[in-house]
């Protein structure tokens, strides 16, 4: 299991590089409702509306399903990713042959929701292609910031 780096600064990405792997993590506090945050994270077709890092996301974000992701960081490529684990409003894991992305949601003592996202890429052949993979830091920061902004905007809708 990939453990999010809780030492990471709120909203700031942190990358740890090793010979055979690289792990980027981010965490951010969100003053919203878990159901809203989770619905944003699991409604595939809605992603491009609020998430500035994603061009398109097709498929259903359900355990065992395959989703097709296009990102701004590498717009010509379609990533075919499997939803490996799904524990609603708590934890979700996506992955392909190269890496694993883990999303977690937890509540802190003050009642604020903490969103964490970690992606670990690696393997025996990782050193051969490591240089070709761009840094995820900026994209992770934008992802977390967009999620916070959208989830907080929604719950602040007038009654």
């Amino acid at each position: 299991m990939t453990i999010p780096s809780f030492s990471a600064q709120n909203g700031k990405a942190n990358t740890v590089k090793k010979t055979f792997s690289r792990q980027t993590s981010i965490r951010i506090d969100i003053n919203s409702d878990a159901s809203v945050i989770w619905t944003l994270l699991t409604n595939a077709s809605d992603y491009p509306r609020w998430n500035s890092t994603i061009n398109s996301l097709e498929g259903e974000i359900k355990k065992g399903e395959q989703i097709r992701l296009k990102v701004h960081l590498d717009p010509k490529r379609t990533f075919k990713i499997k939803v490996r684990e799904m524990e609603p409003e708590k934890r979700m894991v996506w992955g392909d042959g190269q890496g694993t992305r883990t999303f977690t949601l937890s509540k802190n003592k003050e009642g604020v929701w903490n969103f964490a996202m970690t992606e670990k890429i690696g393997g025996l052949l990782y050193p051969l292609y490591a240089r070709m993979i761009p840094s995820f830091d900026e994209a992770f920061e934008a992802f977390a910031s967009d999620l916070k902004k959208e989830a907080e905007l929604i719950v602040n809708t007038k009654n």
Partner: protein, 265 residues
Amino acid sequence: MDKQKLAAEFEACRGPLKSYILRMTTSSQDTEDIVQDTYLRAHAKLESFKGDSSLKTWIFAIASNLAKDHLRAQKRWPENVTDICREKAMANQPFFQEAMQIRQTSPQGKFEIAEHIAFCFTCVSKSLPLEQHLVLLLKEVYDFKIKEIAQIIDQTEAMVKYYLHTGRSTMLRVFDKRCSLINKKGVCHQCTELNGIFNPDQNAQEAVVRIKMAREAHKADKQHLFDLRMEVVRGIDPFESDASDLQLHHLEHNRQVMENYLKNK
């Protein structure tokens, strides 16, 4: 709660309830059936009404559930529904002949651009997922509070806000891209085009200027323009307006076109 009070409350909200169901189903016949079933169900289950909400909210909850059951198996309409239906209408001579007949003989057969804006919203909003569509109508057109909508659709207030926000955002994007009344690059001119056919004595530009949304299009932000669009929709009862016969005829045409289009897709 006695049955006389239910009957009185039902009569008081029958108009909004009917237009709400019509805007969901786009079928006058289905609307009549669902409104009648709503009354029968409310009558039969009156003892279960505990007063946790207003009677009106409770009635709308019953009607919404019936409409959802009715619509769940149906596919959403595409965002460019008006383009598809326009093409079919242009090739359908009897449709125009019937419409002209209504225009000439019915006291509720006038053509007004504002009426068409409301009609257009009914069609385009059918492209939304069901929950977003319900919530958007209940909040923006029927003026229910978030708490009341949560009771009507049996969801948390947070999720109602999510549906409202996403439904609004989607409609805002679609109309901004399509509607020539608010965007010079908008691809849809259907309301002014139909004005030329059904109301040639009325200058389309003069009629457009009377609509606040079009008048303020160049200076107002998109959220405000959407609020103004909703103001137009709120002001029109699709069963009672001066154009209701013409618009209901047009709506039935679009419903049939969409049924066939989605069946063959």
